[in-house]
């Protein structure tokens, strides 16, 4: 609750700071700002952690410097400027150089990348320590974190992997299925934590589901058997003229499968963040123009509703992790299926 209040006050602060005192409060700008990536890691109030900027351009090569050099978009550094969290190239008169801007590639450690690295390290620490306790507690009942994770691992193994892929092939997909499940779940939760080191919309940023789906796609292709391709190009037991319709659909299906994974995860998580932020914005919309009573009056029902949505998002967080893992397992099951005719 306190954390939510803190983060909401921070949002309001950032909204007003950038827009100036007399500019009306713009919820859509605030929401987009919080959902999109940023070049600094906001901690609390006006305190933000500057992040390294890494830019590659064919003209200047690789450049690395701190994002604090931009002074929140107010200063030009090395011919670069930060404009709405995008790095643009400017000429000596501070005018946008579109051709040069199109050429640079931004490899910066952004808010999302920093959170990503943090989460990955967290995952590695958690699961290597769980693995250690398996070695330590060999032949004994699980204890501590191990007993929390074990039912989930067993669920993924027995009810997702074995059920969808089959006893024969499931083992080689287990590392991937476990990794995506815990990856998505942990980052969904990190995204729901409103203060440092959470708050970044990692799984709701389209790039993350894209990579997860691409890895899934490569797994499907790499492990697909003969039967899988036969089912795509020449579905057995179907008249030839139907194949002319079916085969293109099936070929599209190869690509639709990962696409569905991307859109589902991205849309669910981003929508959750937007809903939460919209409710917070209500407070500031009602309290805008010095109407403190309106702001505080709205805050009470909004808080109640936000807590409800937050609980819902916790559920959505694990549900989307489950759905992604389950669908991936079903696709793997299709890929390794053997001829039954």
């Amino acid at each position: 609750m306190i954390a939510l209040l803190m983060s909401s006050s921070a949002m309001a602060g950032s909204g007003h700071d950038t827009d100036g005192a007399n500019v009306p409060f713009s919820p859509s700008e605030l929401i987009m700002h919080h959902i999109m990536d940023a070049h600094s890691l906001h901690i609390v109030g006006d305190i933000a952690l500057p992040l390294p900027i890494i830019i590659y351009s064919s003209a200047k090569g690789l450049e690395v410097f701190s994002s604090s050099n931009f002074h929140h978009g107010e200063a030009t550094y090395n011919g670069y400027r930060l404009e709405h969290e995008h790095i643009i190239v400017v000429d000596s008169e501070d005018n946008l150089d579109e051709a040069a801007t199109a050429e640079i590639i931004d490899f910066s450690i952004t808010k999302n990348v920093a959170t990503l690295l943090f989460g990955v390290i967290l995952l590695i620490i958690i699961f290597t320590s769980v693995a250690k306790s398996y070695v330590r507690n060999e032949g004994k009942a699980p204890s501590g974190l191990q007993s929390f994770v074990e039912p989930i691992i067993l669920f993924i193994r027995d009810d997702i992997a074995k059920a969808s892929i089959g006893e024969k092939h499931y083992a080689k997909f287990m590392p991937f299925l476990l990794s995506i499940f815990f990856f998505i779940w942990v980052f969904n939760i990190i995204g729901l934590i409103p203060f440092f080191p959470g708050g970044a919309n990692v799984t709701g940023n389209i790039a993350v589901p894209i990579v997860l789906a691409l890895v899934t796609f490569f797994y499907i292709i790499r492990n697909s058997g003969k039967a899988y391709w036969i089912h795509i190009f020449a579905m057995p037991g179907v008249p030839t003229w139907v194949l002319f319709i079916l085969t293109p659909i099936e070929i599209l299906g190869i690509f639709i499968k990962p696409l569905v994974l991307i859109i589902r995860l991205f849309a669910n998580i981003t929508a959750g963040h937007i809903v939460l932020l919209v409710f917070f914005c209500l407070i500031f919309l009602f309290g805008d123009g010095g109407n403190a009573g309106g702001g505080f009056g709205t805050a009470v029902p909004v808080m109640a509703f936000t807590i409800f949505i937050n609980c819902l998002e916790l559920l959505v967080g694990i549900l989307q992790a489950y759905v992604f893992t389950f669908l991936a397992a079903i696709y793997f099951g299709m890929a390794v299926a053997e001829e039954h005719h």
Binding site: V113, L117, V130, G139, I153, V211, V215
Partner: protein, 164 residues
């Protein structure tokens, strides 16, 4: 539109970090965890199998015990029966022997009695004869002291002899 345009930087870092994460977890977490889980499940199912085997063994033992018990009972009954028969035969034999002995004793006793009796009778007879002789002597002496009577007697005797 910006929302659904992936940034190359994030794609790059995401690919690297996710593949690294998967590699490290596969090597240092999922491998040992899945191995340990499988091992534990195997050991549990093995223990269950062993328990079932032990139960079967127990059942087998139980039935063999029962058989043993039955055999033992039968043997005991047999033994008791034999013992009873033996006892009966011993008793019968003893009875017979006792009877024989008593019979023999009775016979010898009877013989003894008979012998004693004959001896006694003969002795009595002897005594009676002696007594009779004595009596006769005394009578004779008395009679002979009285001549008439003697004469009378002699005549009576003679009379008897003649009658015979």
């Amino acid at each position: 539109m910006e929302l659904i345009t992936p940034q190359i930087g994030l794609l790059f870092w995401m690919t690297i970090s996710f593949l690294t994460l998967m590699f490290i977890l596969k090597r240092f977490a999922w491998g040992p965890i899945m191995g340990a889980l499988k091992e534990r499940e195997d050991s549990i199912s093995e223990a269950l199998d062993q328990a079932r085997l032990a139960k079967e063994e127990m059942d087998k033992l139980h039935s063999s015990n029962e058989k043993l018990l039955e055999d033992a009972k039968a043997e005991r009954n047999e033994m008791i029966k034999e013992a009873r028969e033996l006892k009966d035969s011993i008793v019968a034999e003893a009875k017979e022997k006792a009877k024989e002995v008593t019979d023999k004793e009775m016979i010898s006793a009877r013989e003894n009695i008979a012998r004693e009796k004959t001896a006694a009778v003969s002795e009595i007879r002897e005594q009676v004869a002696l007594l009779s002789i004595e009596i006769a002597e005394k009578i004779l002496k008395e009679q002979l002291s009285d001549g008439d009577k003697q004469k009378q007697r002699a005549e009576d005797m003679l009379k008897d002899l003649e009658l015979n």
